[in-house]
Amino acid sequence: MEIIRILLRSKRFVLGFGILAAVLAFALLGPRFLTDVAPFQRVGGLYDAPSRDTPLGTDNFGRDVFTQLMFGTRTSLHIGLVAGFVATLIGVTIGTLAGYVSGMVEEALMGFTNVLITIPPIVVLILLSVAVDARTATTMGVIIGVTAWPWTARAVRAQTSSLRTREHVDIARISGVGSLEMMLVEILPYMFSYIFMAFILQLTGAILAEATLSMLGLGPFQTVSLGTMLHWSLMWESVRIGAWWAFVPATVFLSITTFSLILMNAGMDEIFNPTLRHTR
């Protein structure tokens, strides 16, 4: 609870969290309270302008953009969360292992990690997406997560290495605590704030990665996401037609979602990174 009190002191964190909460509320509660239209239901023609019934007009399929936006945001967050979770899980596991178990294992793990870091993630993303039949939001999340973990692993390893040399770890080791327990009890708890920040960054990256893939035409099937909304609006020439309502809402939501996350991260950085805090 102390940590929440500290976090609330950062204006950036509070603002970021506020925006994110609003976006979340819109995505999760919106479908129940703000619309009575199904996401794939056609309510009008191609790019009908905003009106009383369709506050943000219709898209190229004649579907209500406002409703699409709720479901799209939900899908994008879903993908982001799955990807963030997968990436953080793999990254923390490999990073802690590599940081704690030194020697050959560390060399091998970090060599592997570094190789993956040098290969541009978009390449693996494209190839994996092409290879996977029937991409659902969840499989996309997994794909993105599987390509995004090396950064987390590298950062976590650095933290673990420095924690490993700390006094309390030494004392625990001398007392005969086993390796696994050591990692779980003596090392991981000290990195929670750090891991959480890494998770937020992964979430941000995943939301952008989804949008990128979807824009390239490799988005999830049978679902609407912010990225697929943009993809279709581009494919169906909303820009030329001047149907701004087909691309502006998705653009704004993508941007403010990532902005809120980055802001939260910056706020936490202020608090957990003393150097940054003191100069401000």
Binding site: R9, S10, R166, H168, I171, E270, R277, H278, T279, R280
Partner: protein, 330 residues
């Protein structure tokens, strides 16, 4: 002897992100006299480093001077403009050997270039050759080989770095050298070498005065003329070295003298274990004597009122000595 630097009624606070004030130095008056070595001792967080910053005129955000005077050779130092301060005071009148000698050299700058930069920024007309020559002489004086000039910091050992820093810090023959925990990262031999060098510099009159800051009171026995003991943002006792070390009047000073130092996990420095308890929260220090919660000789009054200012050839702030003549509040 004239005073080189003098502070009066100094209150120097840190502003936390939450908007609180951390009272690092809270009502201190102290002077550094020309020709002396003034030792300042105390636990971590007692405000000694902050005081050193004020004496060295290097106050920066989030630290700020809430009230009090800082006099430099009798003039108001706070009124000096930035450029004069930089050119005339820093490095030239007052110089410093910083706390973290290991990281105080720019990792991507050769010693030679640092020397040139420092000299030229005070004497714009000096030639590079002359600057290097001067540095070489000084290195020689402190027993360092001239090849050090071409080295990057990471190519130097800890002890060598310490000595290089002493060379660089005293390159402009400063009146006052502020030495902050110069020895904490060094092994015992290097510590001795470092202190010997300081004494040597003083003897050669390259520098005139030293403020020596440390948490190891016994160390001051070998160097200091006078000692000030700090606790919770205040100077609790000031006096000649012999008096303070052998006849401490303040219970904290006494505790400090008699304490054993042991390493404690997770802390950069060490705390005094001879005195149980921890220093107070400096956002809200105790109303009365700040040492009272830990003081073995505490009585009721200590909790209620700040102790008086006692002069008896030297100064101590403690209710135990309230009967002494000239008692009063600081």
């Amino acid at each position: 002897m004239p005073n080189v630097v003098e502070v009066e009624g100094l209150e120097a606070y840190y502003r936390t992100p939450a908007g609180d004030d951390l009272k690092a130095v809270d009502g201190v008056s102290l002077a550094v006299r020309e020709g002396e070595v003034l030792g300042i001792a105390g636990e971590s967080g007692c405000g000694k480093t902050t005081l050193a910053q004020v004496l060295g005129l290097t106050v920066r955000k989030p630290l700020y001077i809430r009230s009090g005077k800082v006099l430099l050779e009798g003039r108001n130092a706070l009124a000096l403009d930035r450029e004069t301060m930089r050119r005339e005071v820093r490095g030239k009148t007052i110089s410093a050997v910083p706390q973290g000698a290991m990281n105080s050299l720019n990792p991507t700058l050769r010693v030679r270039n640092l020397v040139i930069d420092v000299l030229r920024d005070h004497h714009p007309r000096i030639r590079r050759r002359e600057a290097v020559e001067r540095a070489r002489e000084r290195l020689d004086l402190l027993g360092l080989p001239p090849r050090v000039l071409d080295a990057y910091p990471h190519q130097l050992s800890g002890g060598m770095k310490q000595r290089v820093i002493m060379v660089v810090s005293t390159l402009l023959d400063p009146v006052l050298l502020i030495v902050d925990e110069p020895t904490s990262a060094l092994d015992v031999t290097s510590q001795k070498v470092a202190i010997k060098l300081l004494v040597d510099l003083l003897a050669r009159r390259i520098i005139r005065s030293i403020v020596f800051i440390t948490h190891e009171l016994p160390l001051l026995r070998h160097v200091a003329d006078r000692i000030a003991i700090m606790y919770a943002g205040r100077v609790v006792e000031v006096g000649a070295m012999e008096d303070v070390v052998f006849r401490p009047r303040h219970p904290y000073a006494a505790g400090l003298v008699g304490s054993v130092l042991v390493p404690e996990p997770g802390m950069k420095e060490r705390t005094v274990t001879g005195i149980p308890g921890r220093p107070p929260d400096m956002r809200r220090p105790p109303v009365g004597c700040r040492f009272a919660p830990r003081c073995p000789r505490r009585f009721d009054r200590c909790d209620r009122d700040p102790p008086p200012f006692v002069v008896d050839g030297r100064k101590a702030w403690c209710w135990l000595h309230r009967d002494a003549p000239h008692g009063g509040r600081p």
